[in-house]
Amino acid sequence: MKHKNRETAKRIEEILLENYDRYYRLAYSYTQNEADAQDIVQNGAYKAILNSDSLKNAEYAKTWIYRIMLNETFTVIKKQRESSLGEITVEAGQEDVYEDIDLQRALNSMSREDKAVIELRFFEELKLSEIAEILGENVSTIKSRLYRGLKKMKLELTDAWQCES
Protein backbone atom coordinates (compact mmCIF):
# COMPACT_ATOMS: atom_id res chain seq x y z
CA MET A 1 0.00 0.00 0.00
CA LYS A 2 2.97 2.27 0.70
CA HIS A 3 4.12 1.44 -2.78
CA LYS A 4 0.74 2.39 -4.20
CA ASN A 5 0.88 5.76 -2.43
CA ARG A 6 4.24 6.47 -3.99
CA GLU A 7 2.92 5.59 -7.46
CA THR A 8 -0.04 7.92 -6.94
CA ALA A 9 2.24 10.74 -5.80
CA LYS A 10 4.39 10.27 -8.88
CA ARG A 11 1.37 10.30 -11.16
CA ILE A 12 0.09 13.50 -9.57
CA GLU A 13 3.42 15.20 -10.16
CA GLU A 14 3.39 14.13 -13.82
CA ILE A 15 -0.11 15.47 -14.35
CA LEU A 16 0.81 18.77 -12.70
CA LEU A 17 3.83 19.20 -14.94
CA GLU A 18 1.88 18.32 -18.09
CA ASN A 19 -1.12 20.53 -17.41
CA TYR A 20 -0.06 23.61 -15.47
CA ASP A 21 -1.11 25.91 -18.33
CA ARG A 22 -4.63 24.48 -18.18
CA TYR A 23 -4.97 25.24 -14.47
CA TYR A 24 -3.39 28.64 -14.98
CA ARG A 25 -5.81 29.79 -17.68
CA LEU A 26 -8.78 28.37 -15.82
CA ALA A 27 -7.72 30.34 -12.73
CA TYR A 28 -6.99 33.43 -14.80
CA SER A 29 -10.45 33.35 -16.41
CA TYR A 30 -11.83 33.96 -12.91
CA THR A 31 -9.21 36.21 -11.32
CA GLN A 32 -8.26 38.27 -14.41
CA ASN A 33 -4.95 38.68 -12.64
CA GLU A 34 -1.71 36.85 -13.41
CA ALA A 35 -0.23 36.94 -9.92
CA ASP A 36 -3.40 35.47 -8.38
CA ALA A 37 -3.60 32.82 -11.07
CA GLN A 38 0.00 31.84 -10.37
CA ASP A 39 -0.67 31.64 -6.64
CA ILE A 40 -3.66 29.41 -7.27
CA VAL A 41 -1.67 26.97 -9.39
CA GLN A 42 1.21 26.88 -6.88
CA ASN A 43 -1.00 26.42 -3.84
CA GLY A 44 -3.06 23.81 -5.65
CA ALA A 45 0.05 21.90 -6.70
CA TYR A 46 1.45 22.02 -3.15
CA LYS A 47 -1.79 20.72 -1.66
CA ALA A 48 -2.16 18.01 -4.29
CA ILE A 49 1.28 16.58 -3.53
CA LEU A 50 1.03 16.90 0.23
CA ASN A 51 -2.37 15.19 0.31
CA SER A 52 -1.72 12.63 -2.41
CA ASP A 53 -2.26 9.78 0.06
CA SER A 54 -5.89 10.77 0.45
CA LEU A 55 -6.51 10.02 -3.22
CA LYS A 56 -7.38 6.34 -3.05
CA ASN A 57 -7.60 5.66 -6.77
CA ALA A 58 -4.96 7.11 -9.11
CA GLU A 59 -7.43 6.90 -12.01
CA TYR A 60 -9.14 9.96 -10.61
CA ALA A 61 -5.93 11.99 -10.31
CA LYS A 62 -6.77 14.18 -13.31
CA THR A 63 -10.19 15.30 -12.08
CA TRP A 64 -9.02 15.37 -8.45
CA ILE A 65 -6.33 17.96 -9.29
CA TYR A 66 -8.82 20.05 -11.30
CA ARG A 67 -11.09 19.99 -8.30
CA ILE A 68 -8.33 21.24 -6.00
CA MET A 69 -7.42 24.00 -8.48
CA LEU A 70 -11.02 25.06 -8.88
CA ASN A 71 -11.55 25.17 -5.12
CA GLU A 72 -8.42 27.32 -4.77
CA THR A 73 -9.77 29.58 -7.50
CA PHE A 74 -13.16 29.94 -5.83
CA THR A 75 -11.47 30.77 -2.52
CA VAL A 76 -9.37 33.49 -4.15
CA ILE A 77 -12.24 35.14 -6.02
CA LYS A 78 -14.33 35.09 -2.88
CA LYS A 79 -11.52 36.97 -1.12
CA GLN A 80 -11.18 39.35 -4.08
CA ARG A 81 -14.88 40.13 -3.87
CA GLU A 82 -14.76 40.66 -0.11
CA SER A 83 -11.79 43.00 -0.29
CA SER A 84 -13.34 44.99 -3.14
CA LEU A 85 -16.58 45.58 -1.23
CA GLY A 86 -17.03 49.31 -0.75
CA GLU A 87 -14.44 50.11 -3.36
CA ILE A 88 -15.46 51.46 -6.70
CA THR A 89 -14.85 48.64 -9.13
CA VAL A 90 -13.44 49.72 -12.44
CA GLU A 91 -14.02 47.25 -15.19
CA ALA A 92 -12.73 49.35 -18.03
CA GLY A 93 -10.13 48.27 -20.53
CA GLN A 94 -10.31 44.54 -20.28
CA GLU A 95 -13.12 44.12 -22.83
CA ASP A 96 -11.02 45.51 -25.60
CA VAL A 97 -8.80 42.46 -25.54
CA TYR A 98 -11.53 40.09 -26.59
CA GLU A 99 -12.64 39.61 -30.10
CA ASP A 100 -16.17 38.83 -29.06
CA ILE A 101 -17.21 41.06 -26.26
CA ASP A 102 -20.77 39.79 -25.94
CA LEU A 103 -19.79 36.19 -25.52
CA GLN A 104 -17.07 37.03 -23.00
CA ARG A 105 -19.48 39.18 -21.02
CA ALA A 106 -22.02 36.43 -21.00
CA LEU A 107 -19.41 33.99 -19.72
CA ASN A 108 -18.34 36.35 -16.95
CA SER A 109 -21.89 36.98 -15.85
CA MET A 110 -22.61 33.30 -15.23
CA SER A 111 -22.44 31.59 -11.86
CA ARG A 112 -18.92 30.33 -11.15
CA GLU A 113 -20.05 26.72 -11.62
CA ASP A 114 -21.85 27.33 -14.93
CA LYS A 115 -18.78 29.14 -16.19
CA ALA A 116 -16.54 26.24 -15.15
CA VAL A 117 -18.75 23.78 -17.03
CA ILE A 118 -18.62 25.83 -20.24
CA GLU A 119 -14.84 26.29 -20.03
CA LEU A 120 -14.01 22.73 -19.10
CA ARG A 121 -16.34 21.32 -21.75
CA PHE A 122 -15.56 23.56 -24.71
CA PHE A 123 -12.07 24.89 -24.02
CA GLU A 124 -10.51 21.93 -22.24
CA GLU A 125 -12.65 19.29 -23.95
CA LEU A 126 -13.35 17.30 -20.82
CA LYS A 127 -16.17 14.77 -20.71
CA LEU A 128 -19.37 15.62 -18.88
CA SER A 129 -18.69 12.75 -16.49
CA GLU A 130 -15.26 14.21 -15.68
CA ILE A 131 -16.73 17.65 -15.09
CA ALA A 132 -19.29 16.02 -12.79
CA GLU A 133 -16.40 14.54 -10.74
CA ILE A 134 -14.62 17.88 -10.60
CA LEU A 135 -17.63 19.80 -9.36
CA GLY A 136 -18.90 16.96 -7.19
CA GLU A 137 -22.28 16.96 -8.92
CA ASN A 138 -24.13 14.41 -10.99
CA VAL A 139 -24.07 14.44 -14.78
CA SER A 140 -27.64 15.69 -15.20
CA THR A 141 -26.84 18.75 -13.08
CA ILE A 142 -23.81 19.40 -15.26
CA LYS A 143 -25.97 19.10 -18.37
CA SER A 144 -28.47 21.64 -17.13
CA ARG A 145 -25.60 24.01 -16.25
CA LEU A 146 -24.30 23.52 -19.78
CA TYR A 147 -27.66 24.32 -21.40
CA ARG A 148 -28.20 27.33 -19.20
CA GLY A 149 -24.72 28.64 -19.99
CA LEU A 150 -25.07 28.20 -23.70
CA LYS A 151 -28.46 29.85 -23.63
CA LYS A 152 -26.94 32.83 -21.91
CA MET A 153 -24.32 33.00 -24.62
CA LYS A 154 -27.15 32.76 -27.14
CA LEU A 155 -25.56 29.75 -28.73
CA GLU A 156 -27.79 27.06 -30.09
CA LEU A 157 -27.41 23.52 -29.03
CA THR A 158 -26.94 20.71 -31.45
CA ASP A 159 -26.38 17.07 -30.75
CA ALA A 160 -22.73 17.40 -31.63
CA TRP A 161 -22.27 19.64 -28.60
CA GLN A 162 -23.49 17.18 -26.08
CA CYS A 163 -21.47 14.20 -27.17
CA GLU A 164 -18.80 12.78 -24.93
CA SER A 165 -15.71 13.38 -27.00
Partner: protein, 291 residues
Protein backbone atom coordinates in the same frame (compact mmCIF):
# COMPACT_ATOMS: atom_id res chain seq x y z
CA UNK B 1 -25.00 24.66 -35.06
CA UNK B 2 -24.60 27.55 -37.49
CA UNK B 3 -21.16 28.57 -38.50
CA UNK B 4 -21.21 31.93 -36.83
CA UNK B 5 -21.74 30.39 -33.44
CA UNK B 6 -18.91 27.96 -33.99
CA UNK B 7 -16.61 30.75 -35.05
CA UNK B 8 -17.58 32.85 -32.09
CA UNK B 9 -16.81 30.07 -29.68
CA UNK B 10 -13.52 29.26 -31.37
CA UNK B 11 -12.46 32.86 -31.11
CA UNK B 12 -13.29 32.80 -27.43
CA UNK B 13 -11.38 29.59 -27.00
CA UNK B 14 -8.32 31.10 -28.68
CA UNK B 15 -8.39 34.02 -26.29
CA UNK B 16 -8.68 31.59 -23.42
CA UNK B 17 -5.77 29.48 -24.60
CA UNK B 18 -3.56 32.52 -25.08
CA UNK B 19 -2.96 32.63 -21.35
CA UNK B 20 0.15 30.67 -20.56
CA UNK B 21 2.62 30.65 -17.73
CA UNK B 22 5.94 32.30 -18.52
CA UNK B 23 9.22 30.53 -17.89
CA UNK B 24 9.75 32.30 -14.58
CA UNK B 25 6.35 31.18 -13.31
CA UNK B 26 7.04 27.63 -14.45
CA UNK B 27 10.38 27.55 -12.62
CA UNK B 28 8.70 28.85 -9.51
CA UNK B 29 5.98 26.18 -9.77
CA UNK B 30 8.60 23.46 -10.15
CA UNK B 31 10.39 24.54 -7.00
CA UNK B 32 7.08 24.57 -5.12
CA UNK B 33 6.51 20.99 -6.28
CA UNK B 34 9.97 19.99 -5.04
CA UNK B 35 9.29 21.67 -1.68
CA UNK B 36 5.99 19.83 -1.37
CA UNK B 37 7.68 16.50 -2.09
CA UNK B 38 10.32 17.13 0.55
CA UNK B 39 7.75 18.25 3.09
CA UNK B 40 5.71 15.16 2.33
CA UNK B 41 8.77 12.95 2.79
CA UNK B 42 9.40 14.49 6.17
CA UNK B 43 5.80 14.12 7.27
CA UNK B 44 5.68 10.51 6.22
CA UNK B 45 8.91 9.94 8.09
CA UNK B 46 7.54 11.59 11.21
CA UNK B 47 4.42 9.44 11.15
CA UNK B 48 6.51 6.29 10.86
CA UNK B 49 8.81 7.44 13.64
CA UNK B 50 5.86 7.96 15.92
CA UNK B 51 4.46 4.55 15.06
CA UNK B 52 7.77 2.84 15.58
CA UNK B 53 8.46 4.50 18.90
CA UNK B 54 5.00 3.71 20.25
CA UNK B 55 5.58 0.11 19.30
CA UNK B 56 8.92 0.22 21.06
CA UNK B 57 7.36 1.51 24.24
CA UNK B 58 4.75 -1.23 24.21
CA UNK B 59 7.42 -3.83 23.60
CA UNK B 60 9.58 -2.50 26.40
CA UNK B 61 6.70 -2.87 28.82
CA UNK B 62 6.11 -6.34 27.48
CA UNK B 63 9.73 -7.27 28.03
CA UNK B 64 9.58 -6.22 31.65
CA UNK B 65 6.53 -8.39 32.17
CA UNK B 66 8.26 -11.26 30.44
CA UNK B 67 11.29 -10.98 32.69
CA UNK B 68 9.37 -10.67 35.90
CA UNK B 69 6.56 -13.09 35.36
CA UNK B 70 7.28 -16.80 34.92
CA UNK B 71 3.64 -17.36 33.95
CA UNK B 72 3.85 -14.99 31.04
CA UNK B 73 7.25 -16.34 30.02
CA UNK B 74 5.89 -19.86 29.98
CA UNK B 75 2.87 -18.78 28.02
CA UNK B 76 5.18 -17.22 25.45
CA UNK B 77 6.80 -20.57 24.78
CA UNK B 78 3.52 -21.84 23.45
CA UNK B 79 3.32 -19.19 20.76
CA UNK B 80 5.09 -20.82 17.81
CA UNK B 81 6.93 -17.83 16.42
CA UNK B 82 8.40 -16.78 19.74
CA UNK B 83 9.47 -20.27 20.61
CA UNK B 84 11.76 -20.98 23.46
CA UNK B 85 14.52 -18.47 23.57
CA UNK B 86 17.08 -20.84 25.04
CA UNK B 87 16.55 -23.50 22.41
CA UNK B 88 17.58 -21.34 19.49
CA UNK B 89 21.06 -22.36 18.40
CA UNK B 90 21.99 -20.69 15.14
CA UNK B 91 20.84 -18.01 12.75
CA UNK B 92 17.59 -19.46 11.62
CA UNK B 93 14.49 -18.72 9.68
CA UNK B 94 11.09 -19.04 11.17
CA UNK B 95 8.36 -19.52 8.66
CA UNK B 96 5.12 -18.67 10.24
CA UNK B 97 2.50 -20.90 8.71
CA UNK B 98 -0.17 -20.72 11.35
CA UNK B 99 -3.27 -18.80 10.37
CA UNK B 100 -1.80 -18.41 6.87
CA UNK B 101 0.30 -15.42 7.77
CA UNK B 102 2.98 -16.50 5.26
CA UNK B 103 5.86 -14.41 6.37
CA UNK B 104 9.44 -15.36 7.05
CA UNK B 105 11.45 -14.03 9.95
CA UNK B 106 15.25 -14.14 10.18
CA UNK B 107 16.97 -13.37 13.42
CA UNK B 108 20.41 -14.25 14.76
CA UNK B 109 20.67 -17.10 17.25
CA UNK B 110 22.23 -16.96 20.68
CA UNK B 111 25.14 -19.19 19.69
CA UNK B 112 26.04 -16.95 16.84
CA UNK B 113 25.97 -13.98 19.14
CA UNK B 114 28.17 -15.67 21.71
CA UNK B 115 30.80 -16.39 19.07
CA UNK B 116 30.72 -12.74 18.16
CA UNK B 117 30.99 -11.36 21.68
CA UNK B 118 33.85 -13.57 22.73
CA UNK B 119 34.35 -13.51 26.46
CA UNK B 120 31.04 -12.01 27.41
CA UNK B 121 28.66 -13.77 29.69
CA UNK B 122 25.63 -15.72 28.55
CA UNK B 123 23.37 -13.15 30.14
CA UNK B 124 24.73 -10.49 27.77
CA UNK B 125 24.29 -12.72 24.73
CA UNK B 126 20.84 -13.54 25.91
CA UNK B 127 20.04 -9.86 26.23
CA UNK B 128 21.13 -9.13 22.66
CA UNK B 129 19.12 -12.05 21.43
CA UNK B 130 16.11 -10.93 23.41
CA UNK B 131 16.24 -7.46 21.87
CA UNK B 132 16.35 -8.97 18.38
CA UNK B 133 13.36 -11.12 19.28
CA UNK B 134 11.53 -8.10 20.53
CA UNK B 135 12.01 -6.35 17.23
CA UNK B 136 10.76 -9.31 15.27
CA UNK B 137 7.65 -9.59 17.44
CA UNK B 138 6.75 -6.00 16.65
CA UNK B 139 7.47 -6.48 12.98
CA UNK B 140 5.23 -9.54 12.91
CA UNK B 141 2.46 -7.58 14.58
CA UNK B 142 2.84 -4.88 11.92
CA UNK B 143 2.77 -7.48 9.15
CA UNK B 144 -0.39 -9.00 10.61
CA UNK B 145 -2.03 -5.59 10.66
CA UNK B 146 -0.94 -5.01 7.09
CA UNK B 147 -2.34 -8.37 6.02
CA UNK B 148 -5.66 -7.61 7.64
CA UNK B 149 -5.87 -4.28 5.81
CA UNK B 150 -4.76 -5.94 2.59
CA UNK B 151 -7.53 -8.54 2.72
CA UNK B 152 -10.14 -6.05 3.84
CA UNK B 153 -9.45 -3.80 0.88
CA UNK B 154 -10.01 -6.57 -1.65
CA UNK B 155 -6.66 -8.40 -1.74
CA UNK B 156 -6.76 -12.19 -1.99
CA UNK B 157 -4.83 -14.77 0.00
CA UNK B 158 -2.91 -15.77 -3.18
CA UNK B 159 -1.91 -12.18 -3.83
CA UNK B 160 -0.80 -11.90 -0.22
CA UNK B 161 1.41 -14.97 -0.47
CA UNK B 162 2.94 -13.61 -3.67
CA UNK B 163 4.14 -10.63 -1.62
CA UNK B 164 6.77 -12.83 0.10
CA UNK B 165 6.74 -10.81 3.25
CA UNK B 166 10.13 -11.14 4.90
CA UNK B 167 11.39 -9.69 8.14
CA UNK B 168 15.09 -9.66 8.86
CA UNK B 169 16.59 -8.63 12.14
CA UNK B 170 20.30 -8.27 12.73
CA UNK B 171 22.62 -6.68 15.22
CA UNK B 172 26.04 -4.99 15.10
CA UNK B 173 28.57 -4.37 17.85
CA UNK B 174 29.58 -0.71 17.81
CA UNK B 175 32.11 -0.53 20.58
CA UNK B 176 33.34 -2.53 23.50
CA UNK B 177 35.33 -1.37 26.50
CA UNK B 178 35.97 -3.06 29.82
CA UNK B 179 32.87 -1.35 31.18
CA UNK B 180 30.43 -1.03 28.31
CA UNK B 181 29.16 -2.79 25.22
CA UNK B 182 27.30 -0.73 22.62
CA UNK B 183 25.39 -2.42 19.83
CA UNK B 184 22.55 -1.85 17.43
CA UNK B 185 19.62 -3.99 16.47
CA UNK B 186 18.49 -3.31 12.91
CA UNK B 187 15.32 -4.60 11.37
CA UNK B 188 14.13 -4.56 7.81
CA UNK B 189 10.65 -5.33 6.61
CA UNK B 190 10.55 -5.76 2.85
CA UNK B 191 7.08 -4.31 2.56
CA UNK B 192 7.50 -1.36 4.85
CA UNK B 193 10.66 0.68 4.29
CA UNK B 194 9.33 3.35 6.66
CA UNK B 195 9.75 1.06 9.65
CA UNK B 196 13.27 -0.08 8.85
CA UNK B 197 14.84 0.97 12.06
CA UNK B 198 18.09 0.88 13.94
CA UNK B 199 17.89 0.72 17.72
CA UNK B 200 20.83 1.54 19.95
CA UNK B 201 21.58 -0.36 23.13
CA UNK B 202 24.30 0.06 25.69
CA UNK B 203 25.07 -2.56 28.28
CA UNK B 204 26.91 -2.04 31.52
CA UNK B 205 29.10 -5.15 31.49
CA UNK B 206 29.88 -5.08 35.21
CA UNK B 207 26.29 -4.84 36.30
CA UNK B 208 24.83 -6.54 33.20
CA UNK B 209 22.14 -3.98 32.74
CA UNK B 210 21.17 -1.43 30.10
CA UNK B 211 22.86 1.93 30.57
CA UNK B 212 20.86 5.14 30.43
CA UNK B 213 22.09 8.66 29.75
CA UNK B 214 21.26 9.42 33.36
CA UNK B 215 23.69 6.71 34.49
CA UNK B 216 26.42 8.38 32.45
CA UNK B 217 25.70 12.08 32.95
CA UNK B 218 23.76 12.28 36.17
CA UNK B 219 20.30 13.55 37.07
CA UNK B 220 20.59 16.71 35.01
CA UNK B 221 21.39 14.77 31.84
CA UNK B 222 18.56 16.31 29.73
CA UNK B 223 19.84 19.86 30.21
CA UNK B 224 23.46 18.83 29.81
CA UNK B 225 22.79 17.07 26.52
CA UNK B 226 20.47 19.77 25.13
CA UNK B 227 22.89 22.59 25.93
CA UNK B 228 25.83 20.67 24.51
CA UNK B 229 23.99 19.83 21.27
CA UNK B 230 22.85 23.41 20.81
CA UNK B 231 26.40 24.69 21.28
CA UNK B 232 27.77 22.12 18.85
CA UNK B 233 25.05 22.94 16.30
CA UNK B 234 26.08 26.61 16.42
CA UNK B 235 29.73 25.73 15.94
CA UNK B 236 28.98 23.32 13.14
CA UNK B 237 26.60 25.76 11.41
CA UNK B 238 29.51 28.21 11.32
CA UNK B 239 31.53 25.64 9.40
CA UNK B 240 28.78 25.20 6.83
CA UNK B 241 26.63 22.38 8.21
CA UNK B 242 22.90 22.82 7.90
CA UNK B 243 20.38 21.99 10.63
CA UNK B 244 16.62 22.49 10.63
CA UNK B 245 15.27 25.35 12.73
CA UNK B 246 13.09 24.25 15.66
CA UNK B 247 10.18 25.91 13.81
CA UNK B 248 10.60 23.64 10.82
CA UNK B 249 10.75 20.48 12.90
CA UNK B 250 14.39 20.67 13.94
CA UNK B 251 16.02 19.94 17.30
CA UNK B 252 14.06 21.17 20.32
CA UNK B 253 15.46 18.85 22.95
CA UNK B 254 15.96 15.16 23.60
CA UNK B 255 13.20 12.86 24.79
CA UNK B 256 13.05 9.30 26.07
CA UNK B 257 13.45 7.90 22.56
CA UNK B 258 16.87 9.51 22.08
CA UNK B 259 19.46 7.19 20.56
CA UNK B 260 23.04 6.99 21.72
CA UNK B 261 26.04 4.75 21.95
CA UNK B 262 29.16 4.86 24.07
CA UNK B 263 32.38 5.39 22.13
CA UNK B 264 35.83 3.98 22.97
CA UNK B 265 36.58 7.11 25.04
CA UNK B 266 33.59 6.25 27.21
CA UNK B 267 31.57 9.27 26.09
CA UNK B 268 27.95 9.00 25.03
CA UNK B 269 27.34 9.88 21.37
CA UNK B 270 23.84 11.08 20.56
CA UNK B 271 22.58 9.89 17.18
CA UNK B 272 19.81 11.45 15.10
CA UNK B 273 18.14 9.74 12.17
CA UNK B 274 18.24 11.12 8.69
CA UNK B 275 15.78 14.07 8.45
CA UNK B 276 15.39 14.23 12.22
CA UNK B 277 17.41 17.41 12.79
CA UNK B 278 18.99 18.14 9.42
CA UNK B 279 18.27 17.76 5.70
CA UNK B 280 18.39 14.23 4.33
CA UNK B 281 21.69 14.92 2.57
CA UNK B 282 23.41 15.06 5.99
CA UNK B 283 22.45 11.44 6.68
CA UNK B 284 22.57 10.41 10.33
CA UNK B 285 23.95 13.13 12.57
CA UNK B 286 26.04 12.46 15.71
CA UNK B 287 26.99 14.57 18.71
CA UNK B 288 29.60 13.39 21.21
CA UNK B 289 28.88 14.59 24.74
CA UNK B 290 32.01 14.92 26.90
CA UNK B 291 31.60 13.51 30.36
Amino acid sequence: MDKTNSEKLNALRKEYENMQMNSEQIESLKSVIEDAKQEKGRERHKVMMRRCSTAAAVAAAFLVVLNTSPVVANAMENIPVLGSVARILTFRTYVQENDDLSISVDIPGVEMISEDTNGLTDAVNQEIYELCEQYSREAIARAEEYKKAFLETGGTQEEWEAHNIAIKVDYAILSQTDDYLSFTVTGSENWNSGCNETRYYNLDLREEKLVTLEDLLGEDYVNIVNADIQTQMKQRTATGEVFFDPGEGGFTGIDDAVKFYINQAGNPVIVFDKYEVAPGSAGMVEFEIDR
